[in-house]
């Protein structure tokens, strides 16, 4: 074997090695891509649920307002419901009753925290007549509250249920009225 042949042999082996490495890398990258595509597909499917959850959040708030929320509940939310049902509600007290409440959903946002869990934040307006509302004697006691409900969703079988919810009072027209009384007092001074 002369020198020229030796060089050709060495170059051939080197090229074959490089090609083997490249093809192996391409194959592996293809698998990664497939996995990534599968993940994105899952996430896309998961995100497709967001509009449904937004809608479900509104349905839940309306059902809760009517006192018919049980079928939507699971986990901690269901435990709280059952505790209230058995009269063991830690917050139970004999305070004023609001009577009929009107709910007006203003905005609803949902994020998927994991594949089978999500979280909705719903801004809504709630109006009711207070217990001191007596039109016959000229006492008007009508309340409008702006509330933010934080709902945690957990997927059970194929349906999402509310595993926990909290409400935060953002504004109460009663406070505005009390502050306006102070301003009136200031103006008259």
């Amino acid at each position: 074997m002369n020198n020229k042949q030796k060089i050709w042999n060495f170059a051939s082996i080197f090229i074959i090695l490089i090609l083997a490495i490249v093809s192996s890398n391409l194959f592996s990258h293809q698998n990664d891509l497939k996995e990534e595509i599968a993940e994105w597909k899952n996430e896309a499917n998961s995100l497709k649920e967001i509009p449904n959850l937004n809608e479900q959040a509104s349905t839940f708030i309306n059902a809760l307002n009517q006192g018919n929320s049980k079928e939507y509940l699971t986990g901690k939310a269901l435990e709280t419901y059952n505790a209230a049902l058995e009269g063991e509600d830690e917050y139970e007290h004999n305070h004023s009753h609001t009577g009929e409440q009107t709910v007006d959903i203003l905005q609803s946002e949902t994020i998927k925290s994991e594949q089978d869990t999500g979280r909705s934040k719903v801004l809504y307006k709630l109006s009711y007549k207070g217990e001191f509302d007596q039109e016959d004697i000229g006492t008007i006691h009508q309340r409008t509250l702006f509330l933010l409900m934080d709902i945690e969703w957990t997927k059970e079988k194929s349906d999402y249920k509310v595993s926990d919810y909290k409400v935060e009072l953002l504004n109460d027209n009663w406070d505005d009225y009390i502050l306006s009384l102070e301003k009136k007092g200031d103006e008259s001074e």
Binding site: N65, Q66, A84, Y91, H93, H95, G130, L145, V167, E168
Partner: protein
């Protein structure tokens, strides 16, 4: 120890007088420091008392339901100048947050049941001595003397947490101090006996707290907790932004913390007689009161009476509605963790 470091020891061994002098100087310095400490510890309570503006400090008393006022008033027969004057004791005691029964029992003891010259001539029912004038106090009327005595009892005893007959006796008539006949040993049993004759003590006294925020009434019983939520069964919004405490009409309501009065008014929004105090970035609100005793702009100490329990505004019975607001008539927080000391003013 190196020889170099032992130099000062060698100095004292060689000069024992110097050592003795240093030891004496050290002992004198220690004596002075401990005396200063004792003086400070003795003067501190009286300072805190005077800061209370004649108020009730952090201990306050609540009249119980079992007080037999008729029996109390009927005990003022054959009682010297006190005869038929039971109402004066009731007025002075209630006005100064002192149990009228305790006030009467001590007065009976100090004056031989209303017959001593000091009460007959000088209207001094407590035998109180004016140390700065070097003579016993003299008053124009028995009512004035009783009011002074009740104020003194509150300031120097009740507000300091000295509330039982035994505790008061130990300070009022200490056994063996300026008492050659040992008559002070009889103080507690005799006063206790008078208390029993008058129908028993009528008030329960207790501390209302010692944190940034204290309970606005003594022996506070929560009748409705703080609750901003949706009821899980009914869906009704529970919008109770404060905590309700049970109280009898007229019971003094105390400032939960030192602060400035920003509102004192009859609120037509439902709070009725309402007082709002500002404490830095937080506010406390006292609602449904029967009376208000402070005005906008007043600076009030923690424990000062700001009003009296009532049922004004949107209220179905006597109670105190108490709120802590973290922003003015906007965000409220549950007051109980603050009152129980679990949260401080800065949280």
């Amino acid at each position: 120890m190196n020889k170099e470091n032992a130099g000062f020891l060698l100095l004292f061994i060689k000069n024992p007088i110097l050592g003795v002098v240093l030891a004496v100087v050290l002992a004198i310095a220690l004596l002075i420091m401990s005396s200063v400490g004792m003086v400070l510890s003795v003067t501190q309570p009286s300072n805190s008392s005077s800061n209370n503006d004649g108020g009730y400090g952090f201990v306050t008393c609540q009249e119980g339901d079992k007080f037999d006022e008729e029996k109390f008033l009927s005990s003022f027969q054959d009682a010297g100048v006190f005869t038929d004057n039971g109402q004066l004791f009731l007025d002075a005691g209630r006005a100064n947050n002192v149990d009228p029964v305790l006030l009467a029992a001590i007065s009976f003891h100090e004056t031989g049941k209303g017959k001593s010259p000091m009460v007959r001539l000088d209207n001094n029912p407590g035998g109180l001595y004016n140390s700065s004038a070097g003579e016993f106090f003299k008053f124009d009327s028995l009512a004035e003397g009783l009011d002074f005595m009740a104020r003194n009892l509150n300031k120097n005893y009740i507000s300091q947490g000295i509330v039982t007959i035994e505790q008061i006796g130990a300070k009022y008539a200490p056994i063996g101090v300026n008492d050659p006949s040992n008559s002070n040993a009889n103080w507690v049993p005799v006063v206790s006996s008078f208390v029993a004759d008058l129908g028993g003590l009528s008030m329960n006294c207790s501390a209302i707290g010692s944190g940034d925020f204290v309970y606005p009434i003594p022996n506070a019983v929560v009748t409705s907790p703080f609750s901003v939520r949706v009821h899980p069964l009914t869906g009704e919004v529970e919008n109770h932004k404060g905590v309700d405490f049970a109280c009898n009409v007229g019971l003094p309501i105390h400032a939960s913390a030192t602060g400035k009065v920003v509102r004192s008014e009859f609120n037509t929004g439902g709070y009725g007689n309402m007082v709002v105090l500002q404490h830095g970035d937080k506010y406390t609100l006292y609602g449904h009161m029967s009376e208000r005793f402070v005005s906008v702009g007043d600076e009030v100490e923690q424990g000062k009476t700001v009003g009296a329990c009532g049922s004004t505004g949107d209220s179905s019975g006597p109670h105190l509605h108490f709120e802590i607001q973290t922003s003015y008539f906007d965000v409220r927080v549950d007051p109980l963790p603050y009152l129980q000391g679990a949260k401080t003013k800065d949280e």
